[in-house]
């Protein structure tokens, strides 16, 4: 089985978010970048396929050279080979088109991406990629088993879950549940050394549709002071008469 894991380079979940250039750009100053958490669950699941069922695992990222440390981390975790498409990932449609080229040229059976990136929250790359490459698609996937060409998966739905059957080739929008938090791997020294020798190819972007542009950003309005209630009675009174939520 040949697997491609699509990885987005995102600010660490603890990052404070600020904007610069007249609020038109995300301020990367002092921000630590990591593998998008939803992608990392997928990467770890791909490692399990590799170890238990035999698979080749490639990764792909759309971004400038600054994303390479994050890609090397994915290689250190155990991916075999990496592709970086040398373009700014400003729009989900454009990113999906770039990844579709990688998928078409690589002949992958399974493509795993995160359900969404935790920075721009577009949530569209895996689904658009699936349509562009004519592959099956399962989103918000929390369990994935593959036997030959047959796929059994579970996806999250509002208020529960749904079991699905499908077949390869398949694109998955993954999240926690594909593996657990405790299953995530921290690269060890041997992995880091080996990752340096693995191939990281740089591809030039193809012409694509830039469907959206983020013109301006703002931050949520500052929160007023919390009102502390001295008793449960007072709290109920505040919620009923002031907030009017009960």
């Amino acid at each position: 089985m040949k697997i491609l894991v699509c990885i987005s380079n995102v600010p660490d979940t603890t990052s404070k978010i600020n904007f610069t250039d007249g609020d038109t750009k995300f301020d990367t100053n002092g921000v630590q970048f990591v593998i998008n958490p939803n992608d990392e669950f997928g990467l770890t699941r791909a490692m399990w396929f590799k170890e238990k069922q035999g698979a080749t695992v490639h990764i792909a990222t759309v971004g400038d050279p600054t994303v390479e440390p994050t890609m090397r981390k994915a290689l250190a975790i155990g991916a075999d080979e990496a592709f970086r498409v040398n373009a700014e990932p400003t729009d989900g449609f454009f990113v999906a088109q770039q990844l579709a080229e990688v998928v078409k040229n690589g002949g992958y059976d399974l493509v795993i991406g995160g359900r969404e990136s935790i920075d721009y929250n577009g949530g569209m790359v895996p689904g658009i990629l699936a349509t562009l490459t004519n592959m099956n698609f399962i989103n918000s996937c929390i369990n994935l088993e593959i036997d030959g060409n047959n796929v059994t998966a579970v996806r999250e739905i509002d208020g529960g879950k749904e079991k699905l059957s499908s077949s390869l080739p398949l694109v998955v929008g993954g999240q926690k549940g594909l593996v657990e938090e405790s299953d995530l791997r921290i690269p060890n020294m041997r992995g880091i050394m080996m990752a340096r020798k693995k191939t990281l190819s740089v591809l030039e972007p193809v012409d694509g549709l830039k469907a959206t542009e983020d013109k301006k950003f703002d931050k949520p309005a500052a929160k007023g002071q919390v009102k502390l209630a001295d008793s449960v009675d007072q709290l109920i009174d505040l919620l009923h008469n002031e907030a009017k939520v009960i």
Binding site: F26, N121, I142, E156, G159, K163, E181, A211, F217, V245
Partner: protein, 322 residues
């Protein structure tokens, strides 16, 4: 050239978000000087959309589409976009809709802006305000394609009545030309209980509860309030509660009217995920817990004393106020 809205239903009945997205579509149509057409699947109550500004309902009547299927549903919606020559498509933020939205975007070569929180900033150019950075910020996103897809955040715009004369047309489902052979095998869903996605009230608890055996009072409080139950990330990682209850940056977002956090200190990732909730209440024995800085109301106190009192007093309150 109307605005098309996809209104979700289950067993023929519209979900709560259907009226919200219909209201949003009406606001957009008004800005553009046009009308709203809705597409629904096997609904039995299409007329009710007339209360929220919809002029026409295209009801896909197809027994094979009783269960949601992202490929087939997106194919039918794409057909409706073409036949109505709609330039703007309005969707909800449910898990199902977020599954079909990118398929629809690809089929129509349309730009898609999800998690939109208010009526468009402008319709020419078409710019919407949406949450980004997992609710730590907002982006004003311009959609440059001929057809534009807008995903409206849960509980952001609200259902707004705009009584409109409505007609209903029954249509048949489109077949998906793509090779999507993904099929539902089994649905495992809590019935008769509010879900985090559409609950007005969410009661959430963290590690301060000390162990899964203490969740009885959380569930009882949720029952009294007709609320959904949720939890912090450590609690779901420890296996005390199912993953589906994890709310926060890497879990589910919460946009309820009232969010009650019990024994949750308020890590930045958690605060981001619940920040769209309108009123936040914190119960924590640590007055220094970061959550107090992000909350509207709070009680500094031991959850094991406060919560049982709250349950009793709320029961009395509900008895008096219906």
């Amino acid at each position: 050239m109307s605005v098309l809205v996809y209104t979700e239903s289950e067993k023929g009945k519209f979900k709560k978000n259907a009226f919200e997205v219909a209201s949003y579509a009406f606001a957009v149509a008004k800005m553009m000087g046009t009308t709203v057409t809705a597409i629904a699947f096997n609904t039995t109550e299409g007329e009710s959309l007339g209360e929220y500004g919809v002029s026409k309902v295209m009801n896909v009547k197809d027994g094979s589409l009783e269960t949601f299927n992202a490929g087939a549903f997106s194919a039918s919606i794409a057909e409706a976009v073409k036949s109505t020559e709609a330039k703007v498509v309005i969707l909800s933020s449910s898990t199902d809709t977020k599954y079909l939205a990118p398929l629809l975007a690809a089929k129509l070569s349309a730009g898609y802006a999800p998690n939109v929180v208010q009526a468009p900033d402008s319709t020419s150019p078409f710019t919407v305000k949406r949450t980004a950075f997992s609710n730590k910020g907002f982006a004003h996103t311009q959609i440059d394609t001929d057809i534009k897809i807008v995903g409206v955040s849960n509980n952001a715009f609200g259902a707004q009545e705009n009584k409109t004369a409505i007609s209903i047309e029954e249509i048949s489902g489109a077949t998906d030309a793509a090779t999507n052979d993904t099929k539902s095998v089994e649905i495992d869903k809590v019935v008769g209980k509010a879900t985090i996605a559409d609950a007005d009230v969410v009661v959430s608890a963290g590690r301060g509860m000390k162990g899964p055996e203490n969740w009885g009072m959380i569930e009882e409080l949720a029952d009294v309030l007709g609320a959904a139950t949720a939890c912090s990330k450590p609690v779901s990682d420890l296996g005390w509660r199912p993953h589906g209850e994890h709310v926060g940056q890497t879990g589910k977002p919460v946009a309820s009217n009232l969010y009650i956090a019990i024994g949750i200190s308020g890590a930045i990732q958690h605060l981001a995920g619940v920040s769209a909730s309108k009123t936040k209440v914190v119960i924590n024995n640590d007055p220094e817990a970061p959550f107090f800085k992000a909350a509207d109301y709070g009680i500094v106190g031991d959850a094991f004393e406060v919560v049982p009192q709250l349950i009793e007093k709320l029961k009395d309150f509900k008895a008096q106020n219906g």
